[in-house]
Subunit: 436 residues, 2 copies
C-alpha cells in the first residue's frame, strides 16, 4: 500500500530530545524516550521561490469557485505549502475555514487601549465559531490519512465544537469530555448537534484532560487535543494571514489569549517558519494574555522571565472567570508557549475579571462581539500599553479566538437591568423611553 | 452642500404606481400616493463591459489587505457597481460582511433531501451571525449619507443584532423592539452588547412592527426594517455570490426561508439585474419556504398561485415554531415576494415542525450547524424534491440565513437526554460508555 504521507516528508520530532516518530502511526503524542511534546516537521526542500509562493497565496483568494470546493475557500489550506506540504489533497477535510476578516479596531476600543494602531483578526467567523477550526481541519485530515475512525478530546467548549464538526464532515465518530457546569450552554449543545458523544465530568478541564490522556494511553483513543501537534500546524495560518494582510511585514505585536497554549505555540512556530524562508524580514513579538483566575504561565513569567521554565508550575486552584474556555491550570502546550514567547522577545500579561469583561463591552460598542477570552487579550494589550511594554504607536493585532455568540451568559450578566420589558404594546410608551 | 447621492443616480420608485422619491430624504418608505412599497433604482448607464466587471469582481477577492480596510474584505461591496454604484466610498460602513462559504451539502443531507446536487451558502458566517449583515451594511451606509443619527427596528432577533452592530460601527444610536419571550436569549443579548436600547413588548413580531411603523410615521424615527429598501440592495449579493461561484450560470433552484420576505425579494431582484445585463443566461427558480406555524405566503400560493395576490391574506393566528425568526404573519415585503417568486417561475413550500428540526439535525450530522429557519428551507427543498417540483438532478442552493449558535434552545431540546453527565471523574467509566 502506498502510504499517504512518507515519514521522510512529514514527521514528528520531540522538542526536547529530538527523537523522530511517524505522524500517521503515532497515537500517544508524547515522546517515549523523554516524555517531551512533539513538533510536526516537514521537508521544505521543495518550497521553491518565495515571491512566487506569495503571489500564489494571493491568487488563491480567487479560488472561490464550485470546482474548487471547500479547500478552495479555506484560509488555512491556502497556505498548504507551509502547513502540510506533502499531504495528498484527497485527504483534506475542510469546511471552508479561515479567510476571516482582519479589522481595524473601532474608535472606542483604540481609545480604551490607548493605541490607534490596533487591529483584530476575527477567528470567530469560522464554521464552528472559534479559532479551533484552523487546527481541526489539519488534525482531522491527518487522522483520515492515518485511517482513524474515531477521535476524542477534553475541552473547555470550543475544541469540542470543532471536533464534532470536522469528525462529522469526515464521517468519523467523535467523543468530547467536558467539565460539568464549566462550559456555556451553547458550547454544550454544539458538539451534540454534530453527533458527538458528549460526556461531562464533575471536575475542571484539567481533570477532563487527565481522563483524556488515560483514554489515549490505556484504551488507544485518538486524541484531538493540541497535544496532537497536527492542530498546531493549522493554527499557523493565523500568522500567515496576518503576514499576507500586512504585505509580508509583521506587526510589532500579536496579542492573544493563552489557555492550553495551542494558538500561542502555533503563531510563534508559524512566524519562525516565515522568517526562516525570508517571507518576512522579522517576526512579531507575542503578547500572551491570561485571566487572573487562570494564569499559570503569565504569573510565572512575571516572577522570573529569564528562568521561566524553572519558575513555572501548574496553577492547582483556579478562580472563577467568564473566560471559561481558557480556565486551564496546567496547559498542555506550556513548554511550547514558553519557547515561542521567549523566541519572539514577547511578554505575558494578566487581565482582571473586571478588565476583560470591560474589554468585551468596549469592543462591542464598536460593533464587534467577541468572546471573554478575546477580552483577556484586549485587556492584556491595554495593560501592556499602560506599563510601556507596547509602544503607543506600535501596531498590535489582537487574535479574537471566538465569537461572543458562544458566550452570551457573561454578556447577559453585564446587561442585567438594561433591557426594558414593557407590559403594554404602546408606541407612545416606547417613544417616551426614547425621549421623542 | 454637495449631496452624497443624487436623485437622478439612485432613487426610490413605488413598485405599484411608479412614483419616484429621494432615497436620502425619505423617512417613511411607503408611497404617499398609493401606499405601495418602494424599490431602489439606479442609473446603470455607466455599467460598462460586463465581462470586465466579472473579472474585476473576481480580482477583488484578493483585495484582502490592510490598505483596503473592511470594504476590501466585503462580499457585498465587492459587487458595488450592481448594489450601490453611485454611493461615494467614504459613506460605506462595513464590518467585512459577506464572502461566506458555499459548500456542497454532505452525504447525510443529500440522502435526506433525495438530490446529490445540493449546496449551502452559509450566511451565518458573518459579523453578527446572520444574513442580515448583507443588507444592513447598505442601509447604514445610506443612513450615514443621509446624516441620520439614530436608527430603529422591530425584530424577531436577527435584524436587531445587525442593527446594533452596524449602528455601533457608524457611531449611531440604535433602538430595537422585540417580542417578549419570542426571541432566543442569545439574540436578546446581542444587540445590547453593541449598545442598542433594547425594548421588549408583550406581543408577537407583527405587534412590534406596528409600533415600529408608528414610531416612523408619528415620531420621525429612521427605520432599519426591510420596508426600508436599502436593505434589499445589499441582500442581492447572495445572488451575485452564487452566480460568481457557479461561473455565472445560475443553479436551477435557490431555496430560502421566508419571514418578512427581504431575502426572497432581494435574491429575485438581484437575479433580474444579472439577467438584464447578461451576466447570466438565465435566473434560478426561487423556492420560498415557510413553517406550518407561520405560512401566510406559502399557504396562499398553494391555494391559488395563478391569482396569488387575491388569495393572499395575513395569518393572524400563528402557531408555535422553533423557527422564531420567521414567525411572521404579515410579511412587510409580501408583495415583493409574490413578484419575485412569480417572475422566477418559482414555488413555495411548507415544512412541518418535525421536518424543519430534522433538517437542522441532518445538516448538523454532516458538520454544519444551521438555524431553524434554514431548517425550513432544507425541509422545503426535500418536500419539493419529493413532490416533483425540484428534479432529482437539478442543482439547488439552500440559503442558510443564520448560524445555529444563535438558536441553541431548540437544538438542546432535540438533544435532551443525550448528554451523559457522569458523577465521578473516572477514565474507566468513560471507557465503558464508549464500549472500549
Amino acid at each position: 500500500m502506498n502510504p499517504a504521507l512518507y515519514i521522510n516528508q512529514t514527521w514528528l520530532q520531540c522538542m526536547r530530545c529530538g527523537k523522530r516518530a511517524d505522524i500517521l502511526a503515532e497515537r500517544l503524542f508524547e515522546c517515549p524516550d523523554c516524555g517531551g511534546l512533539f513538533d510536526v516537521e516537514h521537508d521544505f526542500s521543495g518550497i521553491g521561490d518565495v515571491s512566487l509562493l506569495k503571489e500564489e497565496f494571493g491568487a488563491r483568494m480567487a479560488d472561490f469557485n464550485h470546482m474548487n470546493g471547500a479547500v478552495g475557500q479555506s484560509g488555512v489550506w491556502r497556505y498548504r505549502e507551509l502547513i502540510m506540504p506533502h499531504l495528498p489533497k484527497e485527504h483534506i477535510v475542510s469546511l471552508a475555514e479561515g479567510n476571516v476578516p482582519i479589522l481595524h479596531a473601532g474608535k472606542n476600543l483604540c481609545r480604551w487601549i490607548g493605541n490607534n494602531n490596533v487591529w483584530i483578526i476575527l477567528e470567530g467567523m469560522t464554521p464552528t465559531g472559534s479559532f479551533k477550526d484552523f487546527g481541526m481541519t489539519v488534525l482531522v485530515s491527518i487522522a483520515k490519512a492515518a485511517g482513524i475512525r474515531a477521535i476524542a478530546c477534553a475541552s473547555t467548549g470550543d475544541t469540542s465544537g470543532a471536533v464534532g464538526a470536522y469528525a462529522a464532515a469526515a464521517g468519523m465518530t467523535s467523543v468530547v469530555v467536558l467539565p460539568f457546569g464549566k462550559v456555556t450552554p451553547v458550547q454544550l449543545v454544539q458538539s451534540g448537534i454534530y453527533g458527538s458523544i458528549v460526556i461531562t465530568l464533575p471536575g475542571n478541564f484539567d481533570a477532563c484532560m487527565t481522563v483524556m490522556k488515560e483514554l489515549v494511553t490505556d484504551y488507544g483513543v485518538y486524541p484531538a487535543n493540541s497535544l496532537n501537534p497536527a492542530r498546531i500546524e493549522g493554527h499557523q495560518a493565523t500568522a500567515f494571514q496576518i503576514a499576507d494582510f500586512f504585505d509580508w511585514e509583521m506587526p510589532s505585536w500579536i496579542a492573544l489569549p493563552v489557555g492550553n497554549g495551542s494558538d500561542c505555540s502555533s503563531v510563534g512556530k508559524g512566524m519562525r517558519l516565515l522568517k526562516r524562508f525570508d517571507f518576512v524580514p522579522q517576526t512579531s513579538r507575542i503578547l500572551g494574555c491570561q485571566s487572573e483566575a487562570a494564569c499559570p504561565l503569565a504569573s510565572s513569567w512575571q516572577k522570573n522571565a529569564a528562568a521561566w521554565a524553572s519558575s513555572y508550575h501548574p496553577m492547582l486552584k483556579l478562580g472563577d472567570t467568564t473566560a471559561t474556555a481558557a480556565r486551564i491550570g496546567e496547559p498542555v502546550s506550556a513548554s511550547k508557549v514558553m519557547r515561542e514567547i521567549s523566541a519572539s522577545n514577547g511578554a505575558m500579561q494578566i487581565a482582571s475579571e473586571y478588565e476583560l469583561n470591560e474589554g468585551v463591552a468596549v469592543c462591542g460598542s464598536d460593533g464587534i462581539f467577541v468572546c471573554p477570552q478575546t477580552g483577556t487579550a484586549i485587556a492584556g494589550a491595554r495593560n501592556a500599553v499602560r506599563n510601556g511594554t507596547i509602544g503607543k504607536d506600535e501596531t498590535v493585532v489582537i487574535v479574537s479566538t471566538a465569537t461572543g455568540l458562544k458566550f452570551t451568559e457573561s454578556a447577559a450578566r453585564h446587561l442585567e437591568g438594561k433591557i426594558i420589558n414593557l407590559d403594554t404594546v404602546s408606541t407612545a410608551a416606547v417613544a417616551k423611553i426614547l425621549h421623542l
